[in-house]
């Protein structure tokens, strides 16, 4: 599996777009245009984009609140995402769900998540089970966090996936914190991936800020799953570079830790590689950023021009007809 120039260029677009959209959200929240919560994913660009890029169109993916990149790669338009953040009728959930929650669209192979972490890994296993039952060569991929890893469901799902040998890949985004809780208070082991052995599935640790490393590990796991080789657990080491949500100044994070991870910024690293390969210059980067800002301006204009849902529609859509 080779990291082609095209692949890296594409990744660069998605990662830049992810970060810009994230910044845009923060900006809109500061301006009180997004009310309620907002989750920044800064630091997660490589892992979410790389993992999502290994999937085929027909595959299914369950991103969580820091996987903005995966939503974008799967084809969810920033318009719909910004409209979602702003609670508009044109948002992914039609104003029913908040911020990143419930941003699902099965036509794009995206499962919308609920707060109760790590719920979507369970659903994803079920999707993979359907692929297997129907004999379809498709793969499902789910993200969860170091906090979510402590939940009983993480255990039940990994075991389930192993017992049924499901075509599913689990990406654990170990970003050092679950809200204010550091790893040392969450678990007494170094690598969450080591738990894979307890289920009889391969487990591996990758540098989650290295696009290529995540892409290659996930690519192989996806290929194995598709070929009937069963599930894989991949742990990507990364860092949540902002507070848990926008209100959190993360005073509890030691500045040195942030500094260390700042030096490993996934976007900077990818851009270094692109420059080494001669695929990026200051000018082309500036062009890309401008293009993305235009895209987001347009998306934001769309979202802001969109109506709020009618209050009287509150009881609609509880049941499918």
């Amino acid at each position: 599996m080779e990291l082609t120039d095209n692949l890296l260029r594409e990744a660069h677009y998605w990662m830049r777009l992810t970060r810009a959209l994230d910044d845009r959200g923060t900006f809109l929240h500061k301006q009180s245009r997004i009310i309620g919560g907002f989750f920044s994913q800064i630091g997660h660009e490589a892992i979410s984009v790389a993992a999502a890029m290994t999937l085929e169109r027909d595959d299914v993916c369950a991103p969580m609140h820091r996987d903005l990149g995966a939503y974008l790669v799967r084809g969810m338009h920033p318009r719909r995402i910004l409209a979602q953040f702003l609670g508009r009728a044109t948002g992914v959930s039609g104003g029913r769900d908040a911020n990143m929650h419930g941003m699902g669209d099965m036509s794009l192979g995206i499962i919308g998540f609920i707060s109760h972490l790590p719920a979507s890994i369970g659903v994803t296993a079920g999707v993979a089970q359907a692929f297997k039952l129907k004999g379809e060569p498709r793969v499902a991929l789910a993200f969860f966090g170091d906090g979510g890893a402590s939940q009983g469901l993480a255990h039940e799902t990994l075991n389930w996936a192993a017992v049924f040998q499901l075509p599913v890949v689990f990406i654990c985004e170990n970003n050092q914190y679950a809200y204010s809780t550091p790893l040392t208070r969450q678990m007494r082991i170094e690598h969450i991936a080591d738990r894979a052995a307890g289920y009889g599935m391969p487990g591996l640790v990758v540098d989650g800020n290295d696009f290529g490393a995540v892409y290659q590990a996930t690519y192989e796991a996806v290929a194995r799953a598709r070929a009937g080789g069963g599930p894989t657990l991949i742990e990507g080491k990364t860092m949540r570079m902002r507070g848990h949500a926008i209100h959190d100044n993360m005073a509890y994070v030691p500045p040195e830790l942030l500094a260390t991870w700042s030096a490993r910024d996934p976007l900077v690293r990818l851009e270094l590689l692109l420059r080494e390969r001669g695929l990026l210059t200051n000018t082309s980067l500036e062009e890309l950023r401008t293009r993305i800002e235009h895209e987001l301006d347009e998306a934001q204009a769309f979202a802001e021009a969109s109506p709020y849902p009618e209050g009287s529609s509150v009881t609609e859509r509880v049941y499918a007809q």
């Binding site: 659903v123 129907k134 075991n159």
Partner: protein, 346 residues
């Protein structure tokens, strides 16, 4: 006698329906199995999942034989993990599968609670993706099975928006409501009554005979008093009504059948007609389905009432094991008669 056999002296047989059609005489349990078999033959997307439901045929043998006909890919024995099971069912439903999940006892549904009330119940509201899934929950008491194998915990789900809840009381409804539940594009909790598994027999129409979700059934008409109930209490209420008739009273029995959404029209019609209502269920009293039925009547049939709206329910305690305790806990014909006579005399 053990749980899976039931504890019943006699088997009650329901009368054949007045009008024709091909029917067979089935127990309540056989009717459930027949409903699953019918749907599995008709729709290859229907898949069963649960603990010990395959080779073993289920703790109560409800799924017995189905693995032989449909294979292990459609009758799936799972690890002992209710939460993963229900989440997996949600995922299956996203890909066109129609999972029918068996909880070994309704009591264990609390172990998969999060998946039901947080994910399945809200999903369509939130992002428009339906969750067609049926959860079979063998519930209720009378079998000396103690606090963890006798629960009637349906109110948790009746309170939760986005779910449907059914509770058949006859073999025909058991089959017909199961067909509807499996076809419904929403998550349906199907409460089946273990007590009736082998103690109730009745005519069950063959073929594609769905019983619609949301419609109560008037099991007996009367003028003076309405007994509103569901599940195993329907038979108890019918017995009480028959006794009262011999005493010269005209009592009707409304079987709710669907607990969410409730058939408000039928409830109000019964209340308006009779002016006196006694609501009966095994489930714990406070915030049970009976409280909602009472509240609906108190709001919607207020002007027609000739007496206080009465409730007879399991007291607010776990279901105890020892026979003298359980016999007081579970409302039966005698207790119903007492409460009904009080109300008739009002």
């Amino acid at each position: 006698m053990t749980w899976d056999q039931g504890l019943h002296g006699a088997v009650v047989s329901l009368d054949a329906p007045a009008a024709g059609g091909v029917t067979r005489e089935l127990t309540y349990l056989e009717a459930i199995r027949d409903g699953m078999r019918f749907m599995m033959r008709q729709d290859p997307a229907v898949v069963l999942m649960g603990e010990d439901i395959g080779v073993y045929g289920g703790a109560f043998k409800v799924t017995q034989g189905l693995i032989d006909e449909f294979g292990a890919d459609r009758v799936i024995d799972t690890p002992m993990a209710e939460l993963a099971m229900i989440y997996a069912a949600i995922g299956l439903s996203f890909q066109g599968i129609r999972p029918v999940v068996e909880m070994q006892f309704a009591d264990f549904i609390s172990t998969g609670f999060d998946a039901i009330v947080q994910f399945a119940a809200t999903n369509h509201y939130r992002w428009g993706q339906p969750v067609p899934m049926t959860i079979r929950a063998p519930g209720a008491g009378g079998l000396r099975a103690g606090p963890f194998h006798s629960q009637s915990n349906e109110a948790w789900f009746v309170h939760t928006p986005g779910l449907k809840v059914v509770a058949p009381s006859t073999p025909a409804d058991a089959r017909g409501l199961l067909i509807s539940a499996i076809r419904d594009p929403n998550p349906v909790i199907y409460y089946e009554t273990k007590y009736l598994y082998r103690s109730l027999k009745g005519p069950v129409p063959d073929g594609d005979q769905a019983v619609p979700i949301g419609q109560a059934a008037l099991r007996r008409t009367g003028e003076e008093l309405a007994l509103i109930t569901y599940g195993a209490m329907v038979q108890e209420c019918l017995n009480a009504a028959a006794t009262l008739e011999r005493e010269g009273h005209s009592v009707e029995v409304l079987d709710l059948r669907t607990l969410k959404p409730l058939d408000e029209a039928a409830i109000l019609a019964s209340a308006r007609k009779t002016g006196k209502v006694l609501i009966v269920h095994e489930a714990n009293r406070t915030c049970g389905v009976g409280s909602e039925v009472a509240a609906l009547i108190a709001a919607g049939a207020f002007e027609y009432l000739d007496g206080p709206i009465s409730r007879l329910a399991g007291p607010d305690t776990p279901v105890p094991y020892s026979p003298p305790l359980e016999d007081v806990h579970r409302p039966a014909a005698q207790a119903i008669l007492r409460a009904a006579r009080d109300l008739l005399a009002y």
